[in-house]
């Protein structure tokens, strides 16, 4: 394993985008980064720039206007990349499933690797999701190096 691959697994950078959330999951993601849960000690940093990110964290029901932005952001993240959706809304639309401006979950426009349920998802659940995502990232890296088939 090269230096870049090892550091990517040890310190994945996160890009957070809200596609139509109520803020509940967003503040829980921020709570993960602050002293009580503090996932920054594992090297996870919330980045504003998609070009620097490894994991796209997406919250909220997919709004029809946000869908284009989400796709755009996903395309700007360099490979190998992961998508984690947080909260019931981002999985299926949740309580907003029958609203006229909601298209459903984030997986309608981009491929999703990890689903974290909850309304709002608890920080413990989000941390668990990130750990699962890292396992998947290690797999993707193996595939990229030709050690394993997809």
């Amino acid at each position: 394993m090269g230096l870049i691959e090892a550091s990517r697994l040890k310190s994945p950078w996160i890009l957070h985008y809200d596609t139509g959330s109520c803020n509940g999951c967003d503040i829980e993601i921020l709570a993960c980064l602050t002293p009580l849960y503090d996932i920054e000690r594992f090297g996870m940093v919330n980045m504003g720039n998609p070009k620097h990110a490894d994991v796209l964290v997406c919250t909220g029901a997919l709004n029809k206007r946000s869908a284009r932005v989400l796709k755009n952001l996903y395309e700007q993240i360099p490979d190998p990349k992961l998508v984690m959706v947080v909260g019931t809304c981002a999985i299926s639309g949740g309580v907003f499933h029958n609203c006229y401006n909601v298209a459903g979950g984030a997986d309608k426009v981009i491929p999703v690797d990890v689903y974290v349920p909850g309304c709002a998802a608890r920080p413990e659940a989000i941390i668990d999701g990130v750990v699962k995502a890292l396992g998947r990232l290690a797999e993707l890296q193996e595939v990229a190096r030709g050690k394993k088939s997809a």
């Binding site: 503040i27 002293p35 608890r122």
Partner: protein, 361 residues
């Protein structure tokens, strides 16, 4: 004339957790024009409220905003109770006041932290959020969840605060008050904070009134206006509520209002817990709400919120309309931003405490 550049601020921006776009025109590094573009969080909750039965709308209204979810739920219940003419038991009214104020503490601590983050004071952000976790623990203890509390039902409340919980609540609130006050001292006196906030985003008394601003933005411009001043709202009258007013008219004054309100809100909770009477938790509604209209006005952490509901005589409501404080405060950005420098833009945008999910619903 200097060459002009138009730079989009958002919809995805490191400072804002929520998507809103501001097309900002700069002349060199000075802002000359701002055009907001919205609609990235619009879900259509008001229409969805017409599709569901009236008692299921509580859960939908609570998810208008995750930061002030409790007050949204209470406001929806209150407006339906007014439609019905239901009398809410006294203990339930007091409990609603306590939970509303707990949510205000959590929301203001969250904002104070994010505001510190907006001008790069990372450690203050972390400290405020450390204190905020304590109030979230108390919300979890009394309401059962950290973020979406769902305490209110039509006719009263769903949960009670027993003696054990009350004891822990009194202890923790005193602790939060002490720690928040220590952090507020930094926010109020630190010269780096003052350097980045004093005089930034000016909004005069007349402008604030003319633009119809709400909440801390309005009170930081010297206007004494707070929906909690209504004599019949919950139990604020009996607690001797007086709004916090600052006259600085800038981002610093808006931070001061919220810092002082945090302490005031803890005091209101302590007083309310002392006065909490014994009694029933909820009145039972019968039948369906009549085909009439009702309104309800309350104070969210971000300002005045207005609910309107029209019954249809069936299980569904004919119309629910919500007016939220950020909707009233966004026009103030168009006055505050022009004339400011590029690095002050995030600070000024944050000073109104934008909650886009409330605004667009």
């Amino acid at each position: 004339m200097q060459p002009r550049t138009i730079v989009p601020f958002g919809p995805q921006h490191p400072v804002l957790p929520e998507p809103i776009q501001l097309k900002i025109t700069y002349e060199d590094e000075k802002v000359v024009d701002v055009v907001p573009a919205m609609g990235y969080v619009h879900r259509g909750i008001e229409k969805a409220c017409e599709l569901n039965e009236f008692n299921k709308n509580i859960y939908l209204c609570e998810r208008i905003c995750g930061i002030c979810s409790c007050i949204h739920g209470i406001a929806y219940c209150e407006v339906v109770e007014r439609l019905w003419g239901l009398e809410v038991p006294e203990r339930a009214q007091w409990l609603r006041t306590i939970w509303s104020e707990m949510e205000r503490v959590h929301s203001h601590l969250l904002w104070l932290g994010l505001f510190a983050d907006a001008f790069g004071f990372e450690s203050l952000f972390m400290q405020y959020w450390r204190v905020r976790e304590k109030i979230l623990d108390m919300l979890e203890l009394t309401a059962g969840h950290r973020v979406t509390h769902s305490v209110s039902i039509i006719g009263g409340v769903r949960r009670d605060i027993d003696t054990d919980q009350k004891k822990r609540l009194l202890e923790t609130l005193a602790e939060i008050r002490r720690e928040a006050q220590a952090l507020n001292k930094v926010m109020m006196n630190d010269y780096t904070v003052k350097h980045r906030t004093v005089g930034k985003g000016p909004l005069t008394y007349d402008q604030a009134l003319h633009l119809g601003c709400a909440g801390p933005v309005l009170r930081a411009s010297g206007v004494k206006d707070d929906a909690r001043m209504q004599p019949d709202l919950h139990r604020y009258g009996e607690l001797g509520f007086e709004p916090v007013v600052e006259t600085g008219c800038d981002s610093y004054a808006r931070a001061l209002v919220r810092a002082r309100e945090t302490i005031q809100s803890i005091d209101l909770q302590l007083a309310a817990l002392e006065k909490l009477p014994e009694g029933e938790l909820a009145a039972k509604p019968k039948g369906n709400p009549p085909a009439e209209e009702a309104v309800f006005r309350t104070e969210q952490p971000r300002g005045e919120m207005f609910y309107y509901a029209k019954g249809s005589g069936t299980k569904n409501v004919a119309r629910v309309r919500v007016r939220t404080p950020t909707y009233a405060n966004i026009p103030s950005l168009l006055v505050m931003l022009p004339g400011s420098e590029l690095p002050d833009v995030p600070v000024i945008i944050h000073s109104i405490d934008p909650c886009i999910s409330c605004t667009e619903r």
